[in-house]
């Protein structure tokens, strides 16, 4: 019974951590807009934590380049399992308009495994919330 409660709680309390690998700030503002009273994702138990050790879901915006790839990898490795990763915005998905640049690796999935892709330039807050909810399905899948 206790185990079941823990498994149900996972979907009810996703703590997000937000990492910007060189985004234009457009997607970041939209991520933070989700936490404002207008969208108020805290009613679903979402808390923005600034610490990978406390986070369940990693929201990544912007293009990955040779410089920040190891930072992103490090943050991902510091998150205890079970965890989910959401790539946000055109840049996070594929590198966007910067994909041909000499320093850009491409999408987030070139560095860490991504569970959900949220498209848009910038991604709408509704789409981001939808992405987090979809990522929770991964935790649901862990029930086994």
């Amino acid at each position: 019974m206790f185990k079941k409660f823990i498994e149900n709680s996972r979907a009810k309390s996703p703590w997000i951590m937000h990492f910007d690998c060189g985004s234009c700030n457009g997607c970041d503002i939209e991520v933070l807009a989700c936490l404002t009273p207008l969208y108020d994702v805290e009613r679903f138990g979402v808390v923005n934590v600034g610490n990978p050790k406390h986070a369940d879901v990693l929201l990544v915006t912007g293009t990955v380049n040779h410089r920040n790839a190891k930072v992103l990898r490090n943050i991902y490795d510091q998150m205890p399992d079970p965890k989910g990763v959401i790539a946000i915005g055109a840049c996070g998905l594929s590198g966007g308009i910067f994909r041909e640049c000499y320093n850009v690796l491409g999408g987030i999935d070139k560095v860490i495994p991504v569970d959900v892709y949220v498209p848009g330039c910038p991604a709408k807050p509704e789409a981001i919330i939808d992405g987090v909810v979809t990522a929770l399905a991964k935790f649901e899948g862990l029930k086994g």
Binding site: I6, R43, F44, G45, N51, K53, H54, P80
Partner: protein
Amino acid sequence: MKTIILIILGIVIAPVLGGLIAGLDRRVTARLQSRFGPPLLQPFYDVAKLFGKDKVVSNFWQVFCSWVYLIAAALSVGLLFAGSDLLLIFFVQAIGAVFLVMGGLSTPSPYSQVGSQRELIQVLTYEPLLILVFASIFMVTGSFRIDEILAYEQPLLIQLPLMFVVLGYALTIKLRKSPFDFSTSHHGHQELVKGMLTEFSGPYLGIIEIGHWYETIFILGICALFWHTSLVGCVLLIASTYFAELIIDNTMARMTWRWMLKYVWSIGLAMSFVNLIWLYAG
């Protein structure tokens, strides 16, 4: 036998009550910010989720210190329910507070280190005030034992109104609420990430959270002593105190520890002395 039952009752009920208060806290805070807010049981979901996460620790001390913190906090609440000695309870809860700091200091992370140093200063700030509150209760009732204090015929609030405000300062610091929130940076991640709790994760963070619920109940229990004669008055006093705490949390900006030390000690000690002189002269 009765004492043991009361201790067990306290240890079992306190975290449930503390969690509910934490849930109510988040909900009322959300309403004050014109948001809807999470469900009432959100703190329980959070802690349950934390228990389901992987155990990632930097060293053995984190595990040990989080457990000692929980046990000390639970024991102080148990002793409070059992009507034990206030001084004994004070020392037991101080052990918990110090071990939490030790857990924070056991890792080399700068956030954790700075947060723990600040927590030590917070402990230094509220402990003298707490002991003054206990001493003033002793001056009125003539006993440190809670069961004898409960036998006192009129509410302590009549004779110790300023001491209650002093206890309110201790409560705000202990709850890590806004003007005094710098050891764990509850809402201000940009400053110290999570301060002292940065390096704790998964189940051990959950243990600390439960310990925190115990501490909330512990301080509110001490507040309840100030109007022990009627149950309605007691509940009213606790509810209004906690609501005032929420208003303060939502209207105050976070300050520095230097400000806290100067402000709380000067105002707190001044109020204590005024109250004690008044008590002695009157």
